[in-house]
Amino acid sequence: MSTMSGYLAMTRTEFRLFRREPFSVVFVLAFPLMMMVLLAAVFGNKQADAHKIQNGMLIWRGVTPANYYTAASVAVIVAALGLLILPINLASYRERGILRRFHASSVRASTLVSGQLTLALVTFVAGTVVLAIVAKLAYHAMWPQEVLGVVVALVAGTAAFGAIGLLLATVIRTSRSAQGIGLMLFFALWLISGTAPPRAVLPTSLRDIGGLLPLSHLVTAVQNPWFGFGWSGTDLAVLAAWAVAAGVPALWLFRWD
């Protein structure tokens, strides 16, 4: 079946290109690691902090800051894919005429993107493993308690942020504007979604805005199974809703040149 063979060929191609672009490997593996190490250095790893309360909420969700940021950093890299890497890549593919070439040869937008997302998911899982090992060695952090739950959260997050990335690439024409807009969105989300300051310390208004956006849901969707709190059905459902709400119009309106 040509849809399947096209998907496999596209995925294989994405893996090849990824291997040949050392920077992207470094970014995906090193960026969340750096984020986790820096934030853990700032907020420490004291058991006493686990039960601190602010605004009526557990600041660190009942775990130490190092544990908190280990799981949260996984979500950050997924957001970076959707808000930065994917739209910039697609816009530069468009600018250089690569999308035109694919379009003329029956390649569908969904095939192109699913190849990129498959690669992204594999690198997220690899990045998560590295992150968990480093956190264990450096901070005696906990292993993910429910590995499957973490993987499912990564899948849902990849779908949601992949769809958002595709929508951004549809609306934004050039890679330069994709960089500008992507960075703005990325840092705004990063600051209000519990990935930088914990959400408990945010003013109510920012906490509410963050609660509408997908990154805060991805953070809890990853953290809950990681800390052994069980799967977070609501968060997974919100991520799935974002995937559909952004993905359907993006596939419909996708521009090849």
Partner: protein, 315 residues
């Protein structure tokens, strides 16, 4: 092969491979193609020539379903490129202007990638050999020269065993040898029954390769004929040149075919329509003049093109 495919194949034989009537396409307020019509028959090499901005590329992009026309009707292989684009793209090959591949993708890998999307892919090694890409197999797209990229794009146009190929500026960036071998390969491909639509601004290419040529200017077809037909219909003069020390050649001007004669020292230039060379030569011989450098310049497609499009090349 499904019944529908057979039926549409038979249908396309009846109506021609491509039928364009009253095609219109505007970008915002700029009308790129305006009331453009032509037909392409099965098995021919059909040329579309015209100055830059004449609407050539827009036209072939509409034919390939890459752009949606604002008006008029198009049928390609019996299909509507707008509503049946997916089906159409499996049966046509495209070499596009201004396209690229991911920089680190290698030549053989890119052929394999595109073959994976074809319902009837050709053998990748055969394709690499035919377009002399074997030595470049492991080379990344970024490291290819302009001519090598061009050869790769032409090869990609044939990866799905197309019935019809669109070649937009086929030999752009190729050196003279590569141009000639590319022309030969295109002739061979036509021998195999593939119809070719060639967009070019090289008039020698149109003259060498095309069975018929549509001259497009200002978004319209201003002439459509065989290359020779284009020249003949315009009645463009031949120019006969030679040198002689003979001072008085007034008797040559009395020949019916001669329209004008000019002299610059020993150099003589005679313009005329019809068998100018033969008549001038026999008259010269009769007067005992046998110049060694007697030659004729016949009008070319380029002359016809310049006459048809007003002669100004718009960059």
């Amino acid at each position: 092969m499904s019944l529908a495919t057979i039926a549409s194949g038979v249908f396309s034989d009846l109506v021609g491979v491509i039928t364009v009537s009253h095609l219109r396409k505007a970008y915002r307020h700029v009308v790129a193609v305006d009331d453009l019509s032509f037909d392409v028959e099965a098995g021919e090499i059909f040329g579309i020539v015209g100055p830059n901005g004449a609407g050539k590329t827009t036209t072939v992009e509409c034919l390939q379903g890459l752009r949606h026309p604002d008006g008029g009707t198009i049928q390609v292989l019996g299909l509507d490129p707008t509503s049946q684009a997916a089906e159409l793209r499996q049966r046509i090959g495209s070499q596009l202007q201004d396209s690229a591949l991911p920089g680190r993708l290698r030549v053989a890998e890119s052929i394999e990638l595109f073959a994976a999307f074809a319902h009837h892919p050709v053998d990748c090694n055969e394709l690499l050999a035919r377009w002399r890409l074997e030595d470049l197999r492991a080379q990344a797209f970024d490291t290819l020269s302009g001519g090598q990229r061009q050869r790769l794009f032409i090869a990609l146009a044939f990866v799905n065993s197309p019935e019809l190929v669109f070649l937009d500026e086929l030999t752009q960036g190729l050196d003279p040898q590569a141009r000639r071998s590319t022309w030969q390969l295109i002739r061979e491909i036509r021998q195999g029954g593939t119809t070719v639509v060639l967009v070019t601004h090289f008039m020698d290419e149109a003259e060498q390769l095309c069975d018929r040529v549509a001259v497009v200017d200002g978004g319209k077809v201003v002439a459509l004929d065989t290359p020779q037909g284009l020249i003949d219909r315009l009645g463009l003069p031949s120019v006969v040149r030679f040198t002689t020390t003979e001072p008085d050649l007034g008797w040559l001007e009395k020949l019916d075919v001669v329209e004008s004669m000019a002299r610059h020292g020993e150099a003589v230039e005679i313009r005329g329509i019809g068998p100018v060379l033969a008549l001038v030569a026999s008259e010269l011989v009769a007067h005992g003049i046998v110049p060694l450098d007697l030659r004729v310049e016949r009008p070319t497609v380029e002359d016809a093109f310049l006459a048809l499009t007003g002669g100004d090349i718009r960059e």
